[in-house]
């Protein structure tokens, strides 16, 4: 017999694999995502009680499904009895759906509907992130709290409130109607990308990388790409994540210090992720693209260059121009300035940056003075450059980044 510890880990693994379709199937029957998760959790608790005694069943997924189904059925019967008592009228039997057949319907659709519910705009963005990781990523509340550096009760409360809001609003478990579809899909992509970025770069404190969230997000993105193969932007997002993740090993130095893209050792970039990212980008572009696809195309310019010198800066500058048209933003413009500076000389880049210094949304954005400092250095205007790097250092919340910026300020002084 297996040790209880290994049984628990096996149960965790089964949960991770089965929970999205389990909760999705139960939501379809119960019409209540909160209740569905409760039933699925009940089944999990039963497994935790029984499996250490009986061993893990041969088909643990089916076991969980059956157990949860029975719970759901009990709950529906109970609800019906209560309703009967209250209303003292006969409710026809067809009010209890045929759970057996209902749960075996198209599983893919259930998972997709569950994704759309978890990312419903009626709940806050933080709650969407937490719900998605919990209902579809199989993460526990504690794991989510740890990953996002917030107290566990905060996450628990977000999830409870979100589930209540979804229940009260009577959000239907269905594919969003055509009129809302684009907006709802956008929310889904946004949530997945938020999870990825949280893992990819810490915004505060010393912990530069929490890579597990990147993997969770990429997995969610790949799931979505398989469920919605005709949506260009889903593939665009997958491409963007895989291409960015390909640089993980190269972007942090031995002391944990960040290494800028152009200074990275490209031998350490992950070829498999690059290959997967470029393939996803190709699909996205063939389907029409969009802002995520354009961002992936930008990252792809770096991924395709074997050395930093080979980077196709004019193409990057042009892509930022296109991105600025579909998604006008001073940050995009700032990035275009960097690319233009690389492609056509620092004074051309500085012209664009100087047009941005009065932009109120960039007033506290450390990369504005950082980019300006970089261009000034290249133009030999070191005193101005030093002031910009110092300003950038005072604005960043990331300790590692601050260190790097102060170093640049210092070297501007000494040259």
């Amino acid at each position: 017999m297996e040790a209880p510890d290994s049984v628990h880990r096996a149960i965790d693994a089964v949960w991770r694999i089965e929970s999205p379709r389990l909760i999705g199937g139960l939501t379809r029957i119960l019409r209540d995502v909160g209740l569905a998760e409760e039933m699925a959790q009940d089944a999990l608790v039963t497994a935790l009680e029984q499996w250490p005694e009986t061993g893990v069943p041969d088909n643990p997924g089916a076991w969980l499904m059956t157990t949860a189904k029975n719970r759901a059925l009990d709950r529906l019967r109970h609800k019906k009895r209560v309703e009967l008592k209250h209303r003292e009228m006969v409710v026809p039997d067809r009010d209890i759906p045929d759970v057996e057949t209902a749960i075996d319907e198209d599983v893919g659709d259930d998972v997709l509907r569950l994704m759309f519910i978890a990312c419903h705009p009626i709940v806050s963005t933080e709650a969407r992130v937490a719900l998605t990781l919990r209902l579809l990523g199989g993460l526990t509340t504690e794991e989510i709290a740890r990953a996002f550096l917030v107290p566990e009760p905060t996450v628990a409360q977000r999830i409870v409130r979100a589930k209540r809001a979804l229940g009260e609003a009577g959000i239907a478990f269905e594919m969003p109607p055509l009129a809302e579809r684009a907006e709802r899909l956008w929310s889904l992509l946004e949530v997945i990308y938020l999870i990825f970025n949280e893992g990819y770069a810490a915004t505060a404190g010393d912990d530069w990388m929490r890579p597990a969230l990147c993997e969770d997000a990429m997995r969610l993105g790949r799931m979505l790409a398989a469920l919605m193969p005709d949506e260009a932007e889903v593939h665009g997002l997958v491409a963007l994540m895989e291409l960015n993740a390909s640089r993980s090993a190269a972007r942090v130095g031995p002391q944990g210090e960040p290494i800028l893209l152009l200074e990275q050792n490209r031998a350490r970039w992950d070829r498999l992720l690059i290959r997967r990212g470029l393939a996803a980008l190709e699909r996205a572009e063939a389907l029409g693209g969009g802002p995520y696809t354009l961002q992936a195309a930008l990252v792809a310019c770096h991924a395709r260059a074997r050395t930093a010198e080979e980077t196709d800066w004019p193409r990057i500058a042009a892509l930022y121009g296109e991105l600025g048209e579909v998604m006008p933003s001073p940050i995009v413009e700032l990035n275009r300035a960097v690319a233009v500076g690389m492609a056509f000389g620092p004074e051309k880049g500085l012209e664009i940056v100087d047009g941005l210094v009065d932009e109120p949304s960039l007033a506290k954005y450390h990369l504005l003075p950082s980019v300006r400092g970089d261009l000034l250095t290249k133009l030999g205007r070191h005193d101005e450059a030093r002031a910009e790097f110092e300003r950038a250092a005072s604005l960043t919340k990331n300790a590692r980044e601050r260190e790097l910026l102060l170093k640049r300020a210092h070297s501007a002084t000494s040259s």
């Binding site: 880990r9 693994a13 993997e215 990429m218 997995r219 790949r222 398989a226 469920l227 993980s248 031995p254």
Partner: protein, 138 residues
């Protein structure tokens, strides 16, 4: 976490006997499930070892040995590259593979976090990488 899964060879795979249509279609479905779950990153089947070769190193000496190689069960006939949250999850997925007999071997891949290279080791590593690159250019 990423894992590579080696599918061990058999007498059939080594003699070039193709799997039955049934197994191929089951395998197709299984792969599709892995892809849908966002778990499968890569995978391929390998030709028999009779079409391969071994390069043996002994000091400065290199010896080339052409296949086939004995001990079919010790050879690899294919691989998957998967991403899973834990070794247990990877195992759980593989328990569902449609094999009737044979064996697969699961090995975690080193990730960035696993390397705690000292400065010197890192410098050495980068130096070797650079030399290899320069040699490629020459």
């Amino acid at each position: 976490m990423r894992f590579i899964v080696f599918v061990k060879a058999s007498k059939e795979s080594e003699t070039g006997v193709m799997p039955s249509d049934e197994l191929l279609s089951e395998m197709g479905k299984y792969n599709e499930e892995l892809v849908k779950a966002g778990v499968m990153l890569d995978g391929a089947g390998l030709k028999p070892s009779s079409q391969g070769a071994r390069i043996q190193y002994a000091g400065g000496k290199r010896t080339i040995v052409d296949g086939p190689f004995p001990e079919a069960k010790e050879l690899v006939a294919g691989y998957w590259l998967i991403q899973a949250k834990s070794k247990e999850e990877a195992i759980e997925w593989l328990k569902r593979a449609p094999f009737q007999d044979g064996e697969v071997e699961l090995r975690p891949i080193f990730e960035v976090a696993d390397f705690d290279m000292s400065n010197e080791t890192r410098a050495l590593h980068d130096d070797i990488a650079k030399q290899l690159k320069d040699r490629d250019k020459a």
